[in-house]
């Protein structure tokens, strides 16, 4: 499958350069912490007492400063930058990459949107529980962490890929792929 808006080479080099710029100006890239920051900000709005008594949420927000910092703005930027680019290049995006019902999923698990969305919700829960337990995700641990040759990131990368490959092979076990 060679089609894409830009090649993996171009995207890879651009991402590497962005990581270098970010490491020079502020710090390496990271995303998953900001889900906790967002939770902390929301919890603080709804129930400040609970938020301040939760040792983990408390780490990501002081009394006067719940939430928005450099890292949160970065993730917010991803939403804006991704959204704008997606609209500009909508006609260039391969058909197979469009929409909320991937063809591969549909062929394996049927056309139910509920099923797809529930799997995604559950997948999302596991993603962030795992990322916070491990201390990072694909951005912070893999792209940034392995680029710094951190031992923890080598462990995370190896375990994550091994388990994700086994899970994908299991999900698609009867398709002979």
């Amino acid at each position: 499958m060679k089609d894409g808006i830009i090649s993996w080479k171009a995207a890879g080099v651009a991402l590497g350069l962005l990581l270098i710029v970010a490491t020079y100006l502020v710090k390496p890239l990271g995303v998953s912490t900001q889900f906790v920051v967002s939770d902390a900000a929301i919890a603080h709005k709804i129930n400040p007492e609970f938020a301040e008594n939760n040792t983990y949420l408390k780490k990501y927000g002081e009394k006067e400063d719940w939430g928005v910092g450099y890292g949160w703005m970065l993730v917010f930027g991803m939403l804006v930058g991704g959204g704008i680019t997606a609209r500009i290049f909508a006609s260039k995006q391969p058909e197979a990459d469009k929409g909320s019902m991937p063809a591969l999923w549909k062929a394996q698990f049927g056309p139910s949107r509920l099923k797809r969305n529930l799997a995604c919700f559950g997948g999302g829960v596991l993603l962030l529980f795992g990322a916070r337990l491990a201390g990072g995700c694909t951005s912070g641990h893999m792209i940034s962490g392995i680029s710094q040759m951190a031992i923890s990131s080598f462990i995370f990368g190896a375990v994550t890929f091994a388990v994700a490959i086994m899970t994908a092979k299991f999900l698609y076990r009867n398709r002979g792929i």
């Binding site: 998953s32 906790v36 910092g69 970065l74 991937p102 999302g124 951190a150 990368g157 375990v159």
Partner: protein, 175 residues
Amino acid sequence: MTLVLGFLIGCVFGAILFLGGASSYRRIIGTLLLKDMWIMKLMMTAMGVGTLGIYLLDLGNLANLSIKPAYIWGVAIGGAIFGIGWALSGYCPGTCVVGSSEGKTDAIFTLVGALVGAFIFSLAYPALEATVLAPANLGSISLVSVLGITGIWIAIPFSALLLFLAFFVLKDRYE
């Protein structure tokens, strides 16, 4: 100022992930089924370029490094749980943000699930801290600190290896 910087870096990050097809289910699952190595090659290229640049910066003490601590159990168990979520949804925390920005509803469900997952973790944290996070913590070690030589001398061969794998070794396999 750093807020604006964060926003701009994020915008470019989101744009690269979208343009490079990283928010695409068929690409992610293709890589995890070891059929379409696009995402793997993209990541290895980024890390190859990143490693070299970061340790060149580090030569002049210009790199703001952030080495994550190696608490073996938490990193390994967390990585395994993360891997299941990754294969199930086809997204990771960053690409579900980008997928949501494209208006993909499955990405939005992943994003909401992720917020819930982080919340559940915050509830479980006190119990996990003593049992999984604190033991076997080797601290913020890297290949550089373990080998005890200047970073760039490891970064050059490591970077070359990643780029070699991405450009010449990893091949797509289609049926």
